[in-house]
Point group: C2
Chain length 341, copies 2
């Protein structure tokens, strides 16, 4: 049984393991500083498919297959899965996993999707509902641009605060039995809306949600940021990262020394033309699955708080003048199962 | 702990209760045969708002508030919630629940959303993760038409196989403690795609998914349709209902005597101009929350298998020539907690 602390934190009594993970990326990701941490990268943003949407689905399929292959698992070994993405009706996922025949829960958390899937998988595994549960997500620069902003062919100018949707996918499998890294606690996010309505400044929209969830986690668990190697936000980018640190400092929570943002890790912000950094479900997912989980498994780092953030906006309601509600889900992942920190 | 049977069925050991539920509908729903079962109906499809999208969000808010009011619950009594809808990026839900401040998991299962939310809520409650968990969904004829097919102003002709997206919302709360009706078992659906690509014939696309999940449930539990008052499909409509009964008959499972389809219940197919029947997340959700749950609570009926079906299509990929993958999730709901059937 998972023990509730505070309003929205659950401490897992039988911390489940992330037994395998994999991630794939596109060309911009290959050219970035994290290229060695991808299991596979594609030179071509079509990934050999006919449309960008098909390419995104294909990336999910490859990420899942590579994660399963590492443990010689087959899709029938998976009890059920959680998956979603940024595309309308989450078709990146639907078409990516259609042939796998795995019992399927569709989720939507925008760029927080990997944290949401990992939370749900871990809560299920902590209670022995399922012995192997998969979580997957993806994003693709070209599918996201045409859906949320302008088709690439339009050649629109991007603003300095805009972020670059990562062409990437990450998949992982959670099990009640394993050698870690272990999911120790989760804090479920609430929808936060501070009135930001600029679809080209999502970092600013999401930062208050991240701050609220991070603050909830530390209050609910009585832990402090010092005990964590990294407090990892999903894709706040340059603008949102500054805001989240500022907001938390005002509450007496200082994460400036050990804060990392996947959106700032995945690209070289000086050399690559990505403006305020990376974004998209695939950004946090690939950094978690390709960088952090392997480092935790090898005990090169011991504890991270993974906080993926989602801007729950839609062009339809955005054009109606609505603001951008956001959400952030936090997951404490540790190389150790029981040690108190 | 929930006990796994077969590939995707979980029998709940401590069957949680649906402790409250409510549903709201629009004008066409008010004019239909089920008007008395709605807690509230709106004469105006704008529900007093400025846009149809705002109206859909408002319906979700009202459905949740009415469900909570019945037990004098407040939003802070809810541990967390599952919600989603048909709109791009699930904004019907996001904006509907934004002010409630409830820890939030976004889900996407198209018209299967209420069954997905009920399954996840019930699996959590069965394992005492959360003492009160809310599930909500909605759909709106006008938001769905303009997003999936044509804006209403276009005045397009509807085909005979097309269905009428219900303007409705349903909300319910699940708890480990209560007097029923009880969630006894769930069968998680898999994505099924038989190649149907006509967005005006979703019943035909979804029927094979419903047949597979219903067949899985009866095989996994060794129960038979005779033991159920009703096998309730979500929104297969006239076309899909015939197909699901035929497909199951071929497998030796005869549900013809006790099959009900929410899409055929919610409207008068002869008197109302709804072609093949109702559809949309709100269709199955309102019939579950307004009709079946109260009847189960009053022991007027004893057992139903609730099988909401979702067409996981998107105009973007549909226009690229893709078919319509579908999914169906099944939930056994009983007026009794333990009696074997």
């Amino acid at each position: 049984m998972s023990e509730k602390r505070g309003n929205a934190t659950y401490v897992l009594e039988n911390p489940p393991s992330i037994i395998t993970s994999a991630c794939v990326g596109g060309k911009t990701e290959q050219q970035g500083p994290m290229h060695d941490y991808f299991d596979k990268t594609f030179q071509d943003d079509y990934c050999g498919m006919e449309t960008y949407e098909q390419a995104e689905s294909y990336m999910q399929k490859i990420a899942i297959e590579m994660a399963l292959d590492k443990l010689r698992l087959k899709s029938e070994d998976i009890d059920f899965m959680f998956g979603g993405d940024l595309l309308n009706q989450c078709t990146g996922t639907t078409f990516g996993v259609r042939d796998l025949n795995i019992p399927f829960f569709g989720i939507y958390g925008a760029c927080s999707t990997m944290a949401e899937g990992l939370q749900l998988s871990s809560l299920m595994a902590d209670n022995n509902v399922g012995s192997k549960i998969l979580a997957v997500t993806s994003s693709h620069f070209c599918t996201a641009e045409r859906q949320y902003r302008f088709p690439l062919d339009y050649g629109g100018q991007r603003t300095p605060t805009s972020q670059w949707t990562a062409t990437a996918s990450g998949a992982l499998v959670v099990s009640p039995v394993g050698n870690g890294p272990y999911v120790r606690a989760v804090t479920i996010g609430r929808i936060v809306d501070m009135g930001v309505s600029d679809a080209n400044n999502m970092g600013a929209a999401m930062a208050p949600a991240a701050a609220e969830t991070i603050s909830d986690f530390f209050k609910d668990t009585s832990l402090s940021p010092d005990s964590f190697d990294y407090v990892v936000t999903g894709d706040l980018g340059l603008v949102g990262s500054r805001i989240v640190c500022d907001l938390l400092c005002r509450e007496g929570i200082d994460i400036r020394e050990n804060h990392k943002d996947c959106g700032m890790m995945i690209y070289d912000l000086e050399e690559q033309d990505v403006h305020a950094g990376g974004s998209g479900c695939g950004c946090a997912a690939s950094m978690l699955c390709g960088y952090f989980v392997p480092k935790l498994r090898a005990s090169q780092i011991k504890n991270i708080l993974f906080v993926a953030t989602g801007a729950l906006m839609s062009p339809t309601v955005n054009q109606q003048g609505e603001s951008i509600p956001s959400i952030a889900h936090a997951v404490w992942i540790s190389s150790e199962k029981e040690t108190k920190i």
